[in-house]
Symmetry: C2
Subunit: 578 residues, 2 copies
C-alpha cells in the first residue's frame, strides 16, 4: 500500500496528558484516537497489528482444542444475578435499563454467559473436558483510565472458559494453557512477558497467574526472587520478614506524651527508635455496614488491601474518622478501642517483645507495648505488602526484590463458583450429579499491542516485531519524481508484493527528514531506502528498524535479500516460541 493512500495521521507534538512512552508514540504516530474517556478508535495501522495478534491467539487457542464462540456484549442482568455478581461487583460493571425497563449489563468478562451456554450442552462426563473462547468487545467502567490502550474502558479481549470433571483434569489443562500463553507472547515478539502467581480477586477460585510485561511504567508491583525464580503479584505474595538482628528485650508499658505526633515518622523521630519497633494502625470501613476495621502492622510496612479484604471477607474502603467514632486519629493503638471496631493484627507483629503504639488518647502513645501481655492472645494474619529484602516464600532466602509490570493476560482455576451458583451439572461415571470445574483465561488484545510498543521502541517510535508489524517492509523513495527512483521503487514494490511480503511504500514528495521520522513512527521492522544518490552508486539501502542491520545492495538483489530477511525473522520468532 502507498503511504499517501493510507488513512493515517502523524503529529509533531505529544499530547500533554501522555504518562508513558508507548502512549506518547501511539498518539503521535496516529495509532489511536480518543473518542471519550478510555474509549478509542483504532486507525488502520493499529487494526492491522491487532488482527495479527488476534490471529496468533486464535491459532494457539485452536491448537489446545479451543472452540470459538461468540457471547453477547449486552446481557440481561438476570444472568449476573444468578451468579451473584450483579450485586457484588462495583460500578465498574456497567448497568443500564433497556427500552422495556429490563436491567441489563455490558459484559466485562463472560463467566456467566459461558455457563449459561455450556450448561445446556454437556450433561454427561463423556462430553468433558472442553474449552470455548471468544474474541469480543468488553466494557469495564474504569475509574482511572491510563496510558492509551493500557487501561481503557472498552477493549477487545480473548476470553476462554474450560470445563472439567475433576480438579486434576483442570490442573492438567491449566498447565497446557499456561504454555499456550507463553507461546502467544513469544510469537507476538515479547519475550519480556513472565507469568506470576496472582490473587483471584472477584473471579473466585484459588490458583491463578498473571502474565506480566516487566517495565518500570507498569501499574502492578511484582515480587521476584532472583535466587529461585519465585514470582508473584504483590496481591498474592506473602510478606515474610527476616528475623530482626537487634531484637530488644521486653520493656514495661509506659504512657508517654507525644504532642503533635501524627505519623510513624514523627513518633520514631521523637522516641529515637526504628519504625520496626512501632505498631501502626491503618483504619478502613466495611462498605456494607461502615463498621470500622483497624489493621495493625509493623510501622515500616504497608497494608495490602487485597489480602485484608480476603482475610476479613468483606469489601472495605479507607475510613472517614468522625468525632462519634471514639477513635483518636493519629493516636490509635490496640488497647482501649471502642467495642464495635473490628481489629486485625498482621503477622509482622507476632512475637514482637515491645512496640511503640497509640494509646487511644489525644497526644499520648505507649512504649513497651506487648500485645500478648497488654491485650491478650490474638490471631495474626498476613495482610502486609511484601517488601524489598523480604524472605522468599519459596527458597527462604532474604532475596525478595520488587519490580513493576503491566498485566497482559491472566489465567484462573475457577473451581465451581459459577457452575454451582448457576446450577450447571453433569452425571459422572458413577452416576452422581456434580458441578463441573472451570478454568478461565483472558488476554486483552489492545493492551498487548500497547505493551509490545512499550517493550520495543526507541525515542523515535515503536519497533514492531516482524510477526505483528502492520507491514513487514517500508520502502522510502527519496525523490520519487526521479524516473530511475520511480522505476526501481515500483519494481521492488511489485516484486515484494508478488512474493507475499506486506509493503508500505512512501513515495510522497517530502523531505528525507519527514520521510524518515514518519517511518520511525510506523516502526516497520525492515526499511529500504531508494534514492538518486544511492542508485548513482548502484545500490539501495536496507536497514532494520532496530538498527542491528544495515546493508547496501544492488537493486536487482534487494528483493531476494529482503524476502529472506523477512522469512528469517519470522522463522526465528516462531522457533524461539516453541
Amino acid at each position: 500500500m502507498k503511504l499517501k493512500n493510507l488513512v493515517s495521521k502523524r503529529y509533531k507534538e505529544t499530547p500533554a496528558d501522555c504518562v508513558i512512552a508507548s502512549q506518547a508514540l501511539m498518539m503521535r504516530g496516529g495509532y489511536i484516537k480518543s473518542v471519550g474517556n478510555g474509549i478509542f478508535t483504532l486507525f488502520p495501522v493499529t487494526k492491522r497489528i491487532t488482527a495479527k495478534i488476534e490471529n496468533i491467539i486464535r491459532q494457539e487457542m485452536d491448537r489446545i482444542g479451543g472452540q470459538e464462540v461468540l457471547f453477547p456484549v449486552a446481557m440481561p442482568a438476570s444472568l449476573w444475578q444468578e451468579s451473584g455478581r450483579f450485586d457484588s461487583i462495583g460500578s465498574e460493571l456497567l448497568r443500564f435499563k433497556d427500552r422495556s425497563g429490563q436491567d441489563m449489563v455490558l459484559g466485562m468478562t463472560h463467566e456467566e454467559a459461558a455457563v449459561h451456554f455450556a450448561r445446556d450442552v454437556a450433561d454427561s462426563y463423556t462430553q468433558y473436558p472442553f474449552m470455548i473462547y471468544q474474541i469480543q468487545t468488553k466494557f469495564r467502567d474504569e475509574p482511572r483510565c491510563r496510558g492509551g490502550l493500557i487501561r481503557v474502558r472498552e477493549f477487545t479481549m480473548k476470553d476462554a472458559y474450560s470445563f472439567h470433571t475433576s480438579q486434576k483434569d483442570l490442573e492438567d489443562y491449566y498447565q497446557v494453557v499456561y504454555e499456550a500463553y507463553n507461546r502467544i507472547y513469544r510469537r507476538c515478539g515479547v519475550k519480556e512477558v513472565v507469568a506470576v502467581a496472582s490473587d483471584s480477586g472477584m473471579m473466585g477460585g484459588k490458583v491463578s497467574h498473571e502474565y506480566m510485561l516487566l517495565t518500570p511504567v507498569g501499574e502492578d508491583t511484582i515480587v521476584l526472587c532472583p535466587e529461585c525464580g519465585y514470582r508473584a503479584n504483590m496481591e498474592a505474595a506473602p510478606c515474610l520478614l527476616p528475623v530482626p538482628e537487634d531484637r530488644p528485650a521486653a520493656a514495661p508499658l509506659e504512657k508517654v506524651d507525644t504532642p503533635d505526633v501524627k505519623t510513624i515518622e514523627d513518633l520514631c523521630a521523637l522516641l529515637k527508635i526504628s519504625p520496626t519497633l512501632t505498631c501502626k494502625a491503618v483504619v478502613y470501613q466495611e462498605n456494607l455496614t461502615d463498621r470500622y476495621v483497624i489493621a495493625f502492622l509493623r510501622g515500616d510496612l504497608d497494608v495490602n488491601e487485597t489480602k485484608l479484604r480476603n482475610a476479613i471477607k468483606a469489601e472495605i474502603h479507607p475510613a472517614e474518622i468522625t468525632e462519634e467514632s471514639g477513635l483518636n486519629a493519629g493516636f490509635i493503638g490496640p488497647k482501649g478501642l471502642p467495642a464495635n471496631v473490628r481489629v486485625v493484627y498482621d503477622l509482622s507483629l507476632k512475637g514482637g517483645e515491645w512496640f511503640a503504639t497509640g494509646a487511644n488518647e489525644k497526644d499520648k502513645h505507649y512504649t513497651g507495648f506487648n500485645i500478648a501481655r497488654d491485650v491478650g492472645e490474638v490471631g495474626y494474619i498476613d495482610i502486609a505488602k511484601a517488601m524489598e529484602g523480604g524472605v522468599c516464600p519459596q527458597c527462604g532466602k532474604k532475596s525478595i526484590t520488587l519490580s513493576r509490570g503491566i498485566e497482559v493476560g491472566n489465567i484462573f482455576q475457577l473451581g465451581t463458583k459459577y457452575t454451582q451458583s448457576m446450577n450447571m451439572t453433569f452425571v459422572d461415571a458413577d452416576g452422581s450429579l456434580k458441578n463441573p470445574i472451570m478454568g478461565c483465561y483472558g488476554i486483552g488484545v489492545g493492551r498487548l499491542a500497547a505493551s509490545v510498543c512499550e517493550a520495543h521502541r526507541d525515542e523515535y517510535g515503536p519497533i514492531w516485531p516482524m510477526s505483528i508489524a502492520p507491514w513487514q517492509v517500508h520502502i522510502c523513495s527519496l525523490r520519487a519524481e526521479d524516473p530511475q527512483v520511480a522505476e526501481v521503487s515500483q519494481k521492488l514494490y511489485d516484486d515484494l508484493t508478488a512474493a507475499g511480503i506486506e509493503v508500505l511504500w512512501d513515495d510522497r514528495s517530502v523531505s528525507a527528514g519527514v520521510m524518515f521520522s514518519d517511518a520511525d513512527l510506523f516502526g516497520i521492522p525492515l526499511r529500504v531506502v531508494i534514492s538518486p544518490k544511492g542508485l548513482k552508486n548502484g545500490t539501495v539501502e536496507i536497514a532494520s528498524r532496530d538498527k542491528t542491520m544495515q546493508e547496501k545492495k544492488a537493486p536487482e538483489e534487494a528483493c531476494a535479500f529482503v524476502v529472506s530477511a523477512v522469512h528469517e525473522e519470522l522463522d526465528r520468532i516462531e522457533r524461539e516460541a516453541r
Copy 2:
C-alpha cells in the same frame, strides 16, 4: 474435528416461538442460543460460518480500497448530539449513563464515529477519496425481535464509510460498492439476493439501495416489475395507478345517512360502489406536538408511512382520536375539518370526478364529493403504498408485482448530512473550504448467515453453500467400532485434512438414523458414508447435501474425488460471483 469433541447440541423439538423455517432449523440444530430478547450466543458451528462470511466481506472491502478500523461500541452521547441524532432517534438507540454520570450510547451505526475519526485525517482534497470500514458489534434496542438472527438487538455488522470531494466521485464509488456487494452475496452462495432502491430513512441522504433476499417470510415488501427489472423497496416505490377504465361523470354533492358505517367496506356495501370511488381518511399525530395529521387517499389504497413522514418532514404515530379533537372517527372527510389539523392528499385522488367521503358529522357521508369544487385547489403528494398491478415508474406498464424480502445489506449516498453537522471540512483544489460527501454501506453478518439458511434448506436442515459451510465434508462412520470402518475412516479423515479440506467426522456409536438426521442439521455440502456393508462391496458412498450428486467410490479413490468435488464447487461459486 470429531463430532463427539464438538461443543454442540441438537434438539428433537422445535421451540414454540419459531416463526420462520430457518429459525426453527437453527434452534433445533444448535446454531444459536437465546440469552435474552434478541440476544444470542453463537455456537462454534455458527462462528465458523460467520467467520467465513466476515472473511469474504473483508476481502471485498479491501479489494475496493477499504481500510479496516475499529470504532467503539460505547460512545459519549456528545458525538450523537453533534449530529443531532441523539435527539432525533427513538428508543432503539440505547442511551445510558456511565459511572461518572456522563450520557453514553451504544452504537447502532457509526456515522458519527466515522466523521469524528476522519475529520482529523483528511483536510486537503489530495487525501480523498477514501473508505474505512469495521466489523463490529452493534446494539439496536428493537421493539420486535424476530426470526432468530434475522431481527435481533445485538449483532455483528460490517459498516463502511466513504468520503469524497464531489457528488460525481461518490456516485462512481457507490457503483463500485454496489458491485462489491453483489460479489459478496454471490460468494456467500446466495444468488437470490437482489438490490432494490430504498428510502434513506434516519440515515439522511437521497440515493440508497437495499440488498434483499427474496423470500415469502421476509419482513419487507418489494415492488418489482417483471417487464423491465425495476426493483424498489415499498418505502421508496412511487404508487402509480392505472387510469380507471370506468371513470364516472361528475355528480352533485349530497349528504347521505350512513348509520353505523365505520369502514370503507361498510360504506361501499351500503352505497354499492367500488372502493376506488371513495376518499379514505387515515389519522396520525405528530410526535413532537400531538397535532393531528389527516392523510386522504383512495379507499383501496394504504398509507405508506415512510413516504408520509418524508412528505411532512415530521415523525408521526397513529392518532388517538379524543372527544376534544373535533374529529368524528369513521366519518372524517376533507370538508368541515377543525382548523388546526394538517391535511395531506394522496396523488390517487388527483383528477377524480367524485368520491364518497366522510362529512365530519356522526353517521353522515358525502357522495359526489369533488375536491377541487368542494374544498378548492390542493396539492397532491404520493403517500400511498404501491399496489399489485400498478404502473411501473420505469417502463410505464401496468406490471407491478409485490414480493417479500429480507434486507441483508444496504448502501446509502449520504451527502453532507454528517460532515456538515459535525463540521468536517477540507480545502479543495481551488482553495475553498468544503464538507466532504459521504457514502455508507452496511451488512449484518448474522442476518446474512440466517438468510442463507432460509434460502438454502430442506425440511431436515440447512444446505450451506461450500464457501461458507462450517466444514466442507462430513464423514459418517456407521459402526465405527468395526475395525475396517475405523481404519478406512481414519485414513480418509487424515488424507482429507492433509489436503486442506475441513472435515467433521462423526464416529459416534449411534444409529444410522440419528447420525444422518444430525448430519442434515449440520448441512455440510458433501457427505461420505463409510459402513461395513459398503466396504463389503468395496465402496464408500459420497453424496451432496442438496441431493444432486450421489456416487459410490472405492475407498482409495474417495479422497481424490472429494477433494476435487470441493474445489470444483468453490471454483464454481467464485466464477459465478465475478
